[in-house]
Amino acid sequence: MANIFKKVFFVDFLKGLSLTLRYEVSKSITMRYPDEEKWLPYQRFRGLHTLNRDSQGRELCVACELCAKTCPTKCITVVPMEDDKGIGISDRIAKVYEINLVRCMFCGLCEDACPTTAIRMGRDYELACFSLDCAKAEKKRLLAPKEIPQELDGGYVIKARFERTKEGLKVRPDLSKKKRWW
Amino acid sequence: MEKIFFLIFAIMAIASAIGVVSLRNPVHSAISLMACFFQVAAIFVLLRSPFLAAVQVFLYVGAVMVLFLFVIMMLDIRKATISRFVPGGLFWIVVILIALVYEILAVISKSNLLARRVAAVRLDGTVAEIGKTLFTEYLLPFEVVSVILLVALIGAIVMGKKEIK
């Protein structure tokens, strides 16, 4: 009897319609990524690598090539060089340190292998580009200061601005305003 | 004005009718038959019977020809399109057709109905009038036709159904 009632008055159908109507008026969960909002990743996020320095500004990397050895995709190239000007923490530093981002799968094994904690996975994930040149991360790029400080806690949405600069499209985050995305 | 329209419709109707019998591909034939029916509907409008014109489009163009196309697509017509066009015995066919044309021309030229002009009284509200005529004077034929339709419906279903073995 209840079944017939349900069928005659399209109860299930009306339930479905009301559900979709409820969704329609509720707030969307998508964010408008490049234009207005940006996701700030957690601290343990595995993005573009960084080469770190110690507190006196010396490069931590000693060009031991352990990261290149342990890399499963063989995407890291390290060429060592003798140096006594105090750029590095020892007199052996990397002349060339290059990561092929096309092949890198961001597994983080280089991070584990590094004896001096020089290489770390950073939080930069905007790696898309129009030519293959920028898919190669050189030492200079890895050493450059990051826009997102390592100390900052992540896991939320921040305001961002989408800009067309001469170097290409850039998403400029505004770290002061943040909100939880849910 | 009306004559020009009639001529346009008539010429298109005849052209598409010739298309029906002369085109190789049954799908093309069906399309030109559809066009022909449409022209005939237009001629019905010229004859001040819009109801029949609408029924013509509804029934012939909207249903019967779609049915034809449906069946044509269901059947494999690739062989049919390359088969020979006119079979033997063409001579007799031509003789019969010429006799037919002659006969029709003779009847038309002898008849005195053709000079007739339209009566001064116009039939108004044709839909209601047709309905009344259909359900009073022609009630029995109407019922017979509906029974025929029912029989055709059942027949078509039985024919179209796969045999249960």
Partner: protein, 341 residues
């Protein structure tokens, strides 16, 4: 009748000019309608799925349809090898022309006074005394575009879409017409103007014909190939059905026909069951406003349904058409007849 043409007085000329203006206005409106409608459909889809919908082109993505249109215009026009070229050309036109031709008989309102000239104009192109029959007949013709598009592409998915559409359209046309017959019985006329005028003062047909309305709505959904009955262009099983092989402008003709058909069905639902341009409740009468508002509601309703229901299976579609809707619509006619007697 040629001498009549010459002796036509100025009033007749004005009448003819008015009709031409109306025809141009209506067809331009219909050509432009898919622009807001595609935007609206994408926004509705987005919000129902908790997304935002298009946002990049123009404020709130309002220029997205224009961008789409430009893209469709400049796309390569591909005709498949071994396709039946003539029919492949003809099919989009055959889909589009009936969709527009329907509007010759649709009234958008009664009469409006032009303020300065002091002349009344009618808000319909023509008041045929067989209006509803004409609309059903012409809209039944739009199936040719689907069938021929499917057949001419010489592709198996397209052909299956074409066959499905022909069977579906014939099946649901019956139920649709029968739902309309009950309305015609109440109004005692086939003319749409009379049907609307019979619904004055809240005697809307929806009150007397709830079953007829439901049948009409379901059959109309099937007739315009929208979800849950969009089997002819079923993306899941047929790639895109009858228009798989179409691209560029030809494809956009199919889309245009589909949107115009959706508007037509909404307009018909309003005229037949919701009192046309008569104001709801006791609100003031504003020419054309209430009509457009009701039509907009129905268009929204169709979009709403599209993103609520899943697609039916083909055998379910046929079962609904022949075993449920057809007997119900006959019953509806019978009951209506008994009440009228």
């Amino acid at each position: 009748m040629s001498h009549e043409l010459i002796t036509m007085d100025i009033n007749t000329l004005i009448e003819v000019a008015l009709i031409i203006v109306k025809v141009i206005f209506v067809s331009l409106t219909l050509f432009a309608l898919p622009i807001p409608l595609t935007w609206m459909e994408r926004k509705v889809a987005g919000h129902i799925q908790l997304r935002l919908g298009p946002f990049r082109v123009g404020p709130h993505g309002i220029l997205q349809p224009v961008a789409d249109m430009i893209k469709l215009m400049f796309k390569e026009d591909i005709v498949p090898d071994k396709a039946d070229r003539r029919l492949f050309w003809l099919a989009p036109l055959l889909a589009m022309v009936p969709a527009f031709a329907v509007y010759a008989a649709i009234p958008f309102g009664d009469t409006v006074k032009i303020p300065f000239v002091d002349k009344e104009i009618t808000l319909y192109i023509s008041d045929m005394n067989v209006g509803i029959l004409y609309i059903l007949a012409i809209s039944g013709m739009s199936v040719y575009g689907l069938i021929l598009g499917g057949w001419a592409s010489n592709s198996k998915y397209a052909a299956m879409g074409g066959i499905r559409s022909s069977a579906q359209m014939i099946s649901y046309e019956i139920a649709l017409s029968f739902a309309c017959v009950a309305v015609v019985m109440i109004a005692n006329s086939l003319s749409l103007l009379d049907i609307v005028n019979a619904q004055k003062e809240l005697h809307w047909n929806i009150i007397y014909q709830p079953l007829g309305f439901i049948i009409f709505l379901i059959a109309a959904l099937a007739e315009i190939n929208r979800i849950p009955f969009d089997l002819p262009e079923d993306e899941g099983t047929l790639a895109a059905g009858y228009h798989v092989e179409y691209s560029a402008m030809k494809f956009s003709f199919f889309m245009l026909a589909e949107y115009v058909a959706m508007v037509t069905v909404s307009v018909l639902a309003v005229i037949l069951f919701f009192g046309g341009w008569n104001a709801p409740l006791f609100l003031p009468e504003i020419p054309i406003f209430w009509f457009v508002a009701k039509v907009a509601f129905f268009i929204y309703f169709f979009m709403w349904i599209r993103f609520t229901l899943p697609r039916y299976r083909y055998d379910q579609l046929m079962t609904i058409g022949w075993k449920i809707l057809l007997p119900l619509s006959l019953l509806n006619i019978l009951v209506t007849g008994l009440f009228l007697l």
